[in-house]
Symmetry: C2
Subunit: 228 residues, 2 copies
């Protein structure tokens, strides 16, 4: 059912489009480029995981990490999607989406207002990860996805914590990216209208780290946080 | 099936919890407070809309706007969820989620690493909006959700644009917020470990507006953009 080591990536081969990864609209914005997909996934903190519960769709935000061509999420063994993936053979049908909002696109016409964004949508089946070595690698990757280098500067999970943590794996197989960049697309007959038009970029950054109240003042800010 | 005017909000009455809005985990983070839900929704640009297509979950990012106790999304009449909502009576079962990632929570133990976030999850049925007056109000609200005041400084949709635009309505009825704030929750036995611990805030802002290349230099930056 699974192997301990992630499969090697094949960066030069795009993902194969399928019926559900080819959009019905704005096809020129869709991409199956592996490096683009990886970069969008690696930049996000939270994905939106969709699954079906009692016949209805559910979308929950959750942390994730990528190792090669596999995505991983984790959670309590009591959480619903993780429990459902364990109960259901062969796994839980999911759709996992990551979106970055890069800018506000202000056209002269209300109709052509838009958002500059980059998103990745992954369709597939999530499986419980059982293998102890893969689980350990994944838990490190989840911490390092939040702050690169952090897993080596924290206490690893103990037996009790490991027992209460479920890990799900989703292979990057049926995948597409969608990207909008650049200025508004106004109609030719609107070009002389008196409205300001252009893009307002949205920025994201890291604020000054806030030490926990119980942090020993002798512990200084580590380099991997200064680098953020 | 629908009325032209949004229903009045009842800000003092919380949303009624239901089986699917009471989380199985971290119940102390859940809230049904109407003002909190509204504030989280109003701050976002993009929601993640989940629905079922051919028996599988789909999660797509899309713009939205709130008017009172109703959420609205829009799109091309050719887009899949909007077409499906029109084809299906009584509407399309959806789950609409908005998430803000506010900070990286670095605990001494890998296990207690987390994210500070605010999210809203809405379960319900999306319906096509047919009423011309409601559609017009919604299209203004969608533009003003991106930049407050902008709808009055752009050309309204013409008949052709209106005919190619679908609008969906989702009542705020089965709704919950989930919020994590504050420092890490380390185990008492970990407090003497030598690892830095605290929160790295994530910031979001607006960059300097970039005028479109074809903008008449005589058109100056409007006040509603200076205010961002």
């Amino acid at each position: 059912m699974e192997s301990a080591m992630p499969e090697p990536a094949a960066p030069e081969v795009p993902y194969e489009p399928t019926g559900r990864t080819v959009p019905t609209r704005s096809r020129e914005r869709a991409s199956y480029d592996r490096a683009l997909v990886h970069s969008i996934l690696d930049e996000g903190y939270v994905c939106h995981l969709g699954f079906i519960r009692d016949g209805a769709p559910v979308v929950l935000p959750t942390l994730y990490a990528r190792i090669g061509e596999r995505l991983y999420i984790h959670g309590s063994t009591g959480s619903r999607p993780l429990r459902m993936a364990g109960e259901q053979d062969p796994g839980l049908a999911v759709c996992l989406t990551v979106t970055h909002v890069d800018g506000l696109v202000l056209a002269r016409s209300a109709f052509h207002h838009s958002i500059n964004y980059r998103s990745v949508v992954v369709h597939g089946t999530a499986h419980q990860v059982i293998d102890a070595e893969e689980r350990s690698t994944v838990l490190d990757a989840l911490v390092d996805h939040v702050v690169p280098g952090r897993s080596q500067d924290s206490r690893p999970a103990n037996a009790k914590e490991l027992a209460s943590t479920s890990v799900l794996r989703l292979d990057l197989d049926e995948v597409s990216a969608k990207v909008r960049t650049g200025p508004p697309n106004d109609e030719p007959e609107d070009l002389s209208l008196p409205h300001w038009t252009g893009v307002v970029p949205l920025t994201r950054g890291h604020g000054t780290p806030i030490p926990a109240g119980d942090l020993d003042p002798a512990v200084t800010l580590p380099d991997y946080l200064k680098a953020l």
